[in-house]
Point group: C2
Chain length 196, copies 2
């Protein structure tokens, strides 16, 4: 039985993810995808079922990559809170030129999607929630290491961080004001690190 896939599934998903991230769900045609991924329609539809199916995989790929970057930055910095700050600076500022879009792919998804794609909207919301949860865990770790005040509430701070991250990235998209955004990141973490 010839069941050897000729193509690398993970690679296909990554290429699709980069295109969807850049152009959005409605803005990306199946022909754009076929070209980016170098597969004919039949192969794509047998592997992913539909454009929606491929987009869902792309969302998960984006989310996993982002989580991996957070862990990497925490390792590099050697501390949870500094790692989180480095992660945010990286995602918002440093990676801007290499990324397909200034904005978070999940934010672009919840901005664009409506009730006509309920599954994709829900998936995006779930992945955002998971992102918040990983921030909560980082903050809990920071707290147990004494990097964060013991009377801080990691869960509501995680929500705050999420709001800042969404806000900063989107603000940068509208203003191009890198200096102001770097200042705002600095302020946010000075607040967090202060005994408060």
């Amino acid at each position: 039985m010839a069941n050897v896939a000729k193509y690398d599934r993970a690679d296909v998903i990554k290429k699709a993810m980069l295109l969807f991230w850049e152009k959005g769900f409605n803005g990306t045609s199946t022909r754009d995808l076929q070209q980016a991924v170098d597969l004919r329609p039949g192969s794509i539809y047998s592997a992913f079922g539909s454009k929606e199916g491929l987009f869902k995989e792309a969302l998960r790929c984006y989310s996993a990559n982002t989580y991996a970057l957070l862990q990497e930055k925490i390792q590099q910095q050697g501390s949870p809170l500094s790692g989180l700050q480095a992660f945010i600076h990286c995602v918002v500022v440093s990676n801007r030129s290499s990324a397909p879009s200034d904005m978070c792919m999940l934010v672009k998804a919840v901005a664009e999607l409506t009730d006509s794609n309920p599954e994709l909207l829900q998936e995006s919301q779930i992945l955002m929630k998971k992102g918040e949860l990983s921030f909560t865990r980082v903050l809990q770790e920071a707290q147990s290491q004494g990097e964060l005040s013991s009377n801080a509430d990691p869960q509501s701070l995680a929500k705050y961080i999420q709001v800042q991250l969404i806000g900063l990235r989107t603000y940068l998209r509208t203003s191009n004001d890198v200096v102001a955004v770097e200042q705002l990141i600095e302020n946010t973490f000075q607040m967090l690190k202060a005994p408060h």
Copy 2:
């Protein structure tokens, strides 16, 4: 010369704005628009030139409505800073059920648009900048009335407010957590009102 418009231009723009706000630029077809606005293609194209032309008018309409709401809330509250807080609470929380989308139409626009619609992207960015400028002026007024500390910087605080507003609205879209969002609005303004 029969140059009496049979339709109310402002009303047409408003109806188009509500539809574009809900479904986005790519997500709204010209037939959706024709139906919402009750005009045939020829009339729309002679009045606005293209789908892009109508979208640009819709963006300006949205922006003007939002500015009017800010002024209204400042009047109602009788003070700039409380007015700004009331405005943000209104836009983020109270108006949520009546609005076509949880999110800011300008944020949805900059999220969705790419280089294939450079004029629309630029217009969205300009209107966001104008929004920030009106926040700056409100904060300057608050400062001159002693509601805001005299060593605060209205210009960078306006950027901060803009980040919060974008972040909070989008966060609500992803989480539905109204309680947390109201708490974050409260915190933001306690910080601003404190002598700091």
